[in-house]
Symmetry: C2
Subunit: 248 residues, 2 copies
């Protein structure tokens, strides 16, 4: 317990972007000077794959740094309550980013963010200076609530398309949608497809294609029920029930 407390304390005390934790790998800053500064906003009850899929891919961009950012530094727990990612920067300490990624989360999570003007203000502030402002899954609802999607083409989680349009966006049923410097992606796993597209915009097709091989992204799911139309109404109902039952 003592040693783990010391370790965790160091992580909190470290502060700066990707600062190293003794025994847990060298500082990210070792290779984060030259390339894009990618920031991912975490909030209570986010969905684990939304930030981690893009982070896995984009952290391999030459010289890139990927930083998990939240209202406070420290662990941020997923919508199932099972897993926590460490936020290493507080929003207030981040002045600008090259790429902002807003992941999705449970409905409860997204509605909670809607009630946090400081978070929505921070997103608007970051967006003024980003090269790319992006979202995964219901993260597009948060971009929309921040007012960034008015009159824009965008996508989101399959079951959220009507809600997205109430935020002023035009829903497009695509895996990822670019409108200006905003790129939104469909549900959860779609962040990986969006990240490869973003990688091609930032570093060129050759690098993006190599990144696809680097993560051996040659998808072969055992079924073909990943879209609502392919799944049909019965599986749609079951999918939403499994999600609801798994969320805290």
């Amino acid at each position: 317990m003592e040693s783990s407390r010391r370790t965790v304390l160091r992580a909190a005390a470290a502060g700066a972007v990707g600062a190293g934790v003794a025994g847990f790998g060298a500082p990210a800053s070792a290779h984060s000077a030259s390339g894009p500064r990618i920031g991912i906003l975490l909030y209570d009850r986010f969905s684990l794959l939304d930030p981690t899929g893009p982070a896995e891919i984009l952290s391999r961009l030459p010289g890139a740094s990927v930083t998990m950012i939240a209202e406070r530094t420290g662990p941020v727990r997923t919508d199932t309550g099972d897993v926590a990612l460490l936020a290493e920067r507080a929003m207030v300490d981040v002045r600008d980013l090259d790429v902002l990624i807003v992941p999705g989360g449970s409905e409860k999570a997204v509605l909670a963010v809607f009630e946090q003007p400081a978070v929505l203000d921070w997103i608007r502030r970051m967006h003024r200076r980003t090269q790319w402002t992006t979202s995964v899954c219901t993260g597009s609802m948060i971009l929309g609530k921040a007012g960034l999607l008015v009159g824009k083409r965008a996508t989101t989680y399959w079951s959220g398309k009507d809600y997205l349009e109430t935020l002023g966006a035009t829903y497009v049923a695509e895996r990822y949608v670019r409108d200006g410097k905003i790129i939104t992606s469909a549900g959860v796993s779609a962040g990986q497809d969006m990240a490869l597209y973003l990688a091609s915009l930032m570093a060129g097709e050759q690098t993006a294609k190599a990144l696809q091989l680097a993560v051996e992204y040659d998808p072969q799911p055992p079924f073909d029920t990943g879209s609502p139309s392919k799944a049909g109404p019965e599986l749609q109902k079951l999918a939403l029930k499994l999600l609801a039952d798994s969320q805290v």
Copy 2:
């Protein structure tokens, strides 16, 4: 800083499986009593998507609990040094699991685990009681080093197939390979395909198909270079260089 220290301390002090952190979601134990106990082994310099892809999917199995486990509780940093996942149980405190998942990591990471007999012993001990023992990417090297793949069919990261065979396994170029109760998967992103297959074994096809829709896993990468044969030698070289350059 103070508030974040308190928060992180609570996370470390919490100890038990998925214990809640005030302000970061309710305890996972709220819904972890009835279903499979899934444990994911973390170690310094693991690859972020290897544990998080399967965790996203399997944490939606009815009543399932997913727990990140490491030698010590606290943050465990990825191979890029950019991101840390919180280990919430220490190996020594975990007596048995229904499902063990061993993720992959950088070569440096895997070779470091090879030098930790306590970790290899723990894997063997867990394996005696699991329903399913699984790996993602180079995690199969760790299962192999623990002696679990002798005479078994298995897969791993595309560039590691020769090494895998030195550990007594017969390499099979498939997305995931089941031999008895051991399921190994190919590189990084393949853990998601493996998790859907595992979900079908544990909860039936209908549930697994619904989970595929729950994470909207309808892959449409912008390129088709996710396997070494599709990518060709030049992209293979570039992929390995991007990996090496991104790792700390």
